[in-house]
Amino acid sequence: MKAPAFEYHAPNSLEEVLALLAKHGDEAKVLAGGQSLIPLLAMRLARPAQVIDVNGIASLGGIDDRGDHLAFGAIVRERTAERSPVVRDKAPLLAEALPFIGHVAIRNRGTIGGSIAHADASAELPAVAVATGAEVLVCSVRGERTLLAEDFFKGHFTTAMADDECLVEVRVPAAPAGAGWSFQEVARRPGDFALVGVAAMVALDSSCSIRECRISLLGVAPRPIRARRAEEALHGARPSAETFAAAAHEATAELKPASDLHASASVRRHLAGVTVRRALTTAAERAGGSL
């Protein structure tokens, strides 16, 4: 359980990071909080020749309130965001999901950007990013581009980033006025990897019908997925237990989650339905609807 040898870089500027990535490409890994990368090194599942530690780049450490969205620099710790009043106020779905990540000691080091870049399909933040319509800013020496979270996640631990690109910022839209939200997951014990989970947002119109709805599931596919058909079916509907039970069925009936020793595919599918129903119910109540 000791990491293989690597060359370690601790640059002080993003320019240096990008130059190193341009030079080393897929031989390099970016080290942010290290709560996923260092175990992978210890188990030698990853053997990068170069490790580029971005923790010394102070400009990547801020939470910036830009009115219509919050911008999280790549090294903002999960615990910092969890304690932040502006995150609770403007990104309540994110705030609700953060305490589900690992344990306190993990969140004290782990970063929002790192979790997004790691792209674990059973992790909380990728699902939240998809549900909130977050954008990811990635940079390389070739320039910068912004990707919608839904386009960013490609598969198990796989993103749309090229080998020479670095995640620099995660932009989480402010929750729409009057929207309700809910994050739900099922894990064997608090802090364990989730078996399944869901991030949901519901906004009601003046007649208490559903104006907008977003549902994103984790742990049921190689990447976080939107339940688009269920979202469309809910559009214009009035919140009710029956409506949400039907939406939960719609969102999960055709899922083909993995089976492993933690849960079979059918258990995961069932639990996904339960979490979707609970999340929609809570989100609608928070949006001011009565069921």
Partner: protein, 163 residues
């Protein structure tokens, strides 16, 4: 950089310096280079919590941080808690509550508890269980550990014991 690097940091209030390969974790550095073997290593991949230390006052798994990343930072290990022969209030409460059997996980539980109670000593049993969910114990069944934490918390609230 590769090979052995000079690591200067503060450990338990004292400036320390030693060398480490860049791939060496903070946990191995504390144990093997600074001979602070109170920090225990159970799983070495961030699951068991035995290696929990404080870095700049926050609980951190020292197996999930490289020693080079701790340069210039302030680290507190279980050896840094007692005042001479006088146990830290969390250690005292654990001792009185029999919050351990074999003791392997105890340093991690103690450090996690110190961090928890420094932030908030007004905790109930459920909050304690949640806060310590990242520390694994194979002997006690946790009941006596939770009792120890609640005793330390009560003393912090009622007697203002130093955390």
């Amino acid at each position: 950089m590769t090979g052995e690097q000079a690591i200067r940091l503060t450990v338990n209030g004292t400036a320390r310096s030693a060398t480490a390969e860049v791939r060496m974790t903070l946990a191995d550095f504390l144990r093997d280079r600074l001979a602070l073997t109170g920090t225990h290593l159970g799983c070495e991949h961030g699951v068991c919590g035995a290696c929990t230390v404080l870095v700049d006052g926050e609980a951190v798994r020292s197996c999930l941080m490289l020693a080079v990343q701790a340069r210039g930072h302030d680290v507190v290990t279980v050896e840094g808690l007692a005042d001479g022969d006088r146990m830290h209030s969390v250690q005292q409460a654990f001792w009185e509550s029999h919050s351990f059997q074999c003791g392997f996980c105890t340093p991690g539980f103690v450090m996690s508890t110190v961090a928890l109670l420094r932030e908030n000593s007004d905790v109930d049993e459920q909050e304690v269980r949640e806060a310590l969910s990242g520390n694994i114990c194979r002997c006690t069944g946790y009941q006596s550990i939770v009792e120890g934490v609640l005793l330390a918390a009560r003393r912090a609230r009622e007697e203002g014991s130093v955390l």
